[in-house]
Amino acid sequence: MTVGNVFFAVASVVALLGAFMTIASQSPVRSAVGLLITIVGIAALFLMLNAQFLAAIQLIVYAGAVVVLFVFVIMLLGPDAGDGEGTVARARVARYGAGAFFALLAAAAAHLVTRAPDAVFTPFGAVDPEHGSVEAIGRLLFGSDVVPFELATALLIVAVVGAIAVARGKPHVRRQSKSASPTARMFHGPLMARDAQRPLPTKAEKAAKAAGGA
């Protein structure tokens, strides 16, 4: 029983427990905390796997940004963020079913692993000291993988813009389309009205405007 063994055991149990908490707790805040715990556990496992940089990123991005974002949204929604009335009752069957499913899967996995007559574990080999270091990953990211890296930044920007665009909706101008049928919407779209409502200013109008402005 080395330190590493213990570390792995603790980290994996923490990750599993956190995951369980995420999906099982009624309050979304608790779920978020569970997610946080899992993330920390996985970060620890990353350390075990010689992925120091990733562990850091995991903590920074997930714990620092994603979970915080979740919490913000939960705060924004207030009490509505929780499960509605009667949801728990409705979901009971599903919960029991899911529990049973998970137990079944666990049993199957255990069966597969233990019953294999000559189950041989594949140990990790010796590790390169450079493996997973910030320098090594940085070399890759700014070297051969620079294009996807830059694309990832683009993706993030697009995501931010998109998130703003989606979240910024104006409920008071929500358009009720004429017909519920998507086909009808396609053929009788609102474009006609738009054409009529926003004609381009004519030359005379422009001139009048300029004159009036002057």
């Binding site: 029983m1 080395t2 590493g4 063994n5 570390f7 792995f8 055991a9 994996s12 990750a15 599993l16 995951a19 995420t22 999906i23 979304p28 779920s31 978020a32 569970g34 997610l35 990353f46 796997l49 010689n50 992925a51 990733l54 990123i57 995991q58 991005v61 994603v66 979740f70 949204v73 939960i74 509505d80 963020a81 499960d83 509605g84 409705r90 979901a91 599903a94 919960r95 079913g97 899911a98 692993v113 574990f121 594949t122 140990p123 990790f124 590790v127 390169d128 493996h131 997973g132 990953i137 890759l140 990211l141 993988d145 996807p148 993706l155 995501a159 931010v160 998109g162 989606v166 519920a180």
Partner: protein
């Protein structure tokens, strides 16, 4: 059990368990927020697998780089996903995914 933490199979099984939990969470919970978190769980479990396999092949770091990109994508996804949750909440005054059944009509 001295190999605890030093063989790939354990990481795979752990990751499988996390993935299954995430899956169950996504399927069972009706709360969109929790569903999103479940998706995060699944992504994390995949990351764990990638990194674990990468540990076996010490010659390159492609697995870790891939995991890095997954984290970036997950961040973007959460941002957009939460924005959609907000928009959805505005539409339905609820975050229960049962309400999101417009696809049917």
């Amino acid at each position: 059990m001295s190999s605890l933490g030093y063989v790939i199979e354990q990481y795979i099984m752990l990751s499988g368990a996390l993935f299954t939990l995430g899956c169950i969470g996504f399927l069972v919970r009706r709360n969109v927020l929790v569903q999103l978190m479940s998706i995060e769980l699944m992504l994390n479990s995949v990351n764990l697998t990638l990194v674990a396999y990468n540990r076996m092949h010490t010659g390159d770091l492609n697995g870790q780089v891939f995991a890095f990109f997954i984290i970036a994508v997950a961040a973007a996804e959460v941002a957009v996903g939460l924005a959609i949750v907000l928009a959805f909440y505005r539409l339905k005054s609820s975050v229960q995914s049962d309400e999101a059944d417009q696809l049917r009509h």
